[in-house]
Symmetry: C2
Subunit: 477 residues, 2 copies
């Protein structure tokens, strides 16, 4: 009954996916709205996911030689304006500080929407010689973009992210770093978040303001819409020239540095929800689940039950994130709550189990129940968490593959985007005008030119002229 | 020669302490100035200290039942104005956002100087019943205060900190939490940063805008000036009444919550520098040193030397933060650089050492050299790091005690603040007017009413009326 009530509070994902998403975010207590329009509170259950994600991504950064720094959140207007494409891309959506204390400022400051300009201003002084290179810096911070439409995690006026900014002595090294960091993101998504991604390059239309090339990882949500899950940009020496970032090379000549930047944000939590969630709530990948094993005592008032639950917690907590739900709610309600919150394993233990020297482990992803001898709990939990990660990744991959279609011509393309939801692979001539037509007609954008190319046909799916590349198309968040 | 050059770049602390501080911050590459007036870049060497500090403080928070969250960086003007004392305290020094994108905002937003008002706005909806209490939330973020005079770490327009905000069902529980978190800070300073602190309560004049009581930990810098190193505030139900944060208690009546907040910021890195540093540079407490052992090969071009250095790194890196300086600089320069950066131990290894199966460990704090058999390096490093922490704390405590004076009357008080630099313990009548006179005459403020009281005399050091409390007085950063 209580279980039913909690689950009934969620709209079924097949009925209304957008409402399902909002319900999950609210009922799993990840986020709340605030009095500040377009800004959210990330609540403990949501922030704990971010912390685990941040820790593991940061470890991968450090292995890749990245150093963390912190730069100011304010950018003087004149600095933002130095690189032409960049300011055109961002100026329309920044928040402006005009007063400090009781005084108007001499120059407006924008709250950083991204920090390329500040890093350039910093590197301009910090880089003198080839010995100072490369600079491989990153910061964890919040950024602001004055969006009109906002949605929890996916789009808000302020969000948390990391932004890496590097400077190199050669173009080759910058390109290598751009790809290296894209691979860090891709591996992280698969190995930590159980989200399979497509790696590729953005078209010029979709690339970052000021970049020579933008690389992206694209993932497919349960509803068939795409989500750009991480990007890595190669700037060439464009910013370096605009900001005058020069160094004396080994041959004693002055050269401009080559730069990159790359970022991943709290958006990715939206992807976790929409790739793995179901009608019972959140399904968290074990590696970022704040609670990996939720121990739920059955008939907890009976002698020895709570004690056994605590004993199991003590045994498991050295290796796993464990919690005992010893509140006075009914077991059914506790089950439903643990499912809503997406905890990968639920451990049920009652008087009968104790008598028989066993307990029940219930997988969140499949809802399968497994009887386990109490002697073997640690090993079984470890094994199941690994299996769950593996199965979640494979399930997501299968879902994505099932919803990835191929269009040979305009007719097929139109039919697919009218009748199906998912990625459509199709050939493209390389002209922006075709992208514009496709966007205008079907609200579809090019997601990426994948590294793994296929020759589907020889002609552009839109204009019929000779095709240059195969592109993943989709509707995106 | 090279060593000399690097050290000469630092002004001696006895000649000009302020310049010494600036030199250290710059030469140890902790911070740099930016084009954004009053805002700094925290460089890798500085940020790595903050990360270590943050990790260890956060662990202590989690042990104390604290949960992390993230709230928006913007506060609508109307929200900031809800608590009268609070807005008076902060409005003069906040930065105002007036435009979002190309449009003027309907209501100005300030960039958070602190987040009491936002947490109140959040708790107002999130707290309904006694079952929802206590809320023990914290956020790691940056805040902005439009300071006129700025100094690296000590005072800047933007700085990093954590701010804890809690809500409780009773006044007693709020007071307990306020003191509990003050103790977390005090223990952290001594056990992690090797900084001894005085715990006490702020006078009403010095307390936080909107608080019923502010508790503080005060530390003494090498130059005899005080630094407020962490504060914990009890708000009573003042904010709750201003914001309408009510809950239904067990007895079914509506009650206001009682709240606290507590914070520690990047200022504390300033304290680390000014408590422990010397004329050779930074001296880092081992627990927050990004490099604990700097391995410096001597005659590194000779066969086997670099290999042995790397071998030692491999042996040590599982337990300690280790780095080999294999650059082509001279050993003397490397020594000076490792000292400048404050690494607790330097490990010197050359051909002769290898032959004799030993190496030299040099303590940064005492500059003492210790010969160690290569077989015993791990154990000796562990032991020395513990000793260094212990000795740094005791040295700082001895320095503070030596510079803590007692004044029985106005004459002594004046003489001490004219001739000496340090804490002065003296009796106080409890009147704000005496604090104002003392500040006006000698630029001295009450640092705290220490928990450990002494009855020095019966009369106020300023007005001669009956004394209520013993107070620590000092000049402060």
């Amino acid at each position: 009954m209580a279980e039913k009530k909690l689950v009934e509070a969620i709209t079924s994902m097949d009925v209304d996916f957008a409402q399902w998403y909002t319900d999950i975010v609210k009922k799993a207590e990840l986020i709340d709205y605030t009095s500040v329009k377009g800004c959210m509170v990330i609540k403990p259950a949501g922030y704990a996911i971010w912390e685990l994600l941040q820790k593991q991504l940061d470890e991968r950064f450090k292995e890749a030689g990245v150093q963390n720094v912190y730069l100011p959140m304010f950018i003087p207007e004149s600095l933002l304006e130095k690189e032409k494409d960049h300011v055109e891309g961002f100026a329309p959506e920044v928040a402006w500080v005009t007063h400090g204390g009781l005084q108007p400022l001499q120059e407006r400051l924008c709250v950083r929407p991204t920090s390329e300009t500040l890093f350039c201003d910093f590197y301009k002084n910090d880089v003198q010689s080839y010995r100072d290179l490369p600079k491989v810096y990153n910061q964890w911070c919040s950024v602001v973009r004055w969006e009109k439409e906002t949605r929890p995690f996916l789009r808000s006026r302020e969000f948390l992210w990391q932004e890496g900014h590097t400077a190199h002595s050669t173009a080759e090294e910058a390109e290598e770093r751009t790809i290296q960091m894209l691979n860090v993101y891709a591996d992280f998504c698969e190995e930590v978040l159980a989200i399979p991604v497509i790696k590729g390059r953005k078209t010029d239309k979709e690339k970052f303001a000021g970049a020579v090339a933008t690389y992206t990882i694209e993932s497919l949500m349960h509803d068939g819409k795409a989500l750009q899950s991480g990007t890595s940009h190669n700037f060439g020496d464009g910013f370096a020239k605009a900001f005058g970032i020069q160094f004396t090379d080994k041959d004693n000549t002055l050269k401009y540095v080559h730069q990159t930047s790359w970022g991943m944000s709290t958006r990715i939590i939206g992807a976790i929800i929409m790739v793995h969630g179901d009608d019972f709530g959140l399904v968290l990948p074990p590696k970022v689940a704040p609670v990996q094993v939720a121990i739920i005592p059955i008939q907890q008032k009976k002698e020895g039950v709570l004690e056994k639950a605590y004993e199991l917690r003590e045994r498991l907590k050295g290796s796993f994130r464990v919690k005992v739900d010893d509140t006075d709610k009914s077991p059914g309600y506790k089950f439903a709550e643990a499912e809503m919150r997406g905890f990968p394993l639920r451990l049920e233990i009652g008087p009968k189990d104790i008598e028989e020297g066993k307990c029940v482990l219930c997988r969140r992803d499949t809802r399968e129940k497994i009887e386990v001898s109490l002697d073997e709990v640690e090993g079984k939990v470890r094994e199941l968490l690994e299996t769950i990660h593996h199965d979640m990744l494979e399930k997501a991959r299968a879902h994505r593959d099932l919803h990835t279609y191929t269009a040979k011509d305009k007719g097929e393309f139109e039919k697919l985007f009218t009748e199906k939801a998912g990625f459509v692979k199709a050939m493209w001539c390389g002209e922006q005008s075709c992208e514009e037509i496709i966007k205008e007609k079907w609200s579809v954008t090019s997601r990426c030119i994948p590294f793994e190319q296929e020759q589907i046909t020889d002609t552009c799916v839109c204009c019929g002229k000779p095709a240059k590349k195969m592109v993943y198309w989709g509707r995106a968040y």
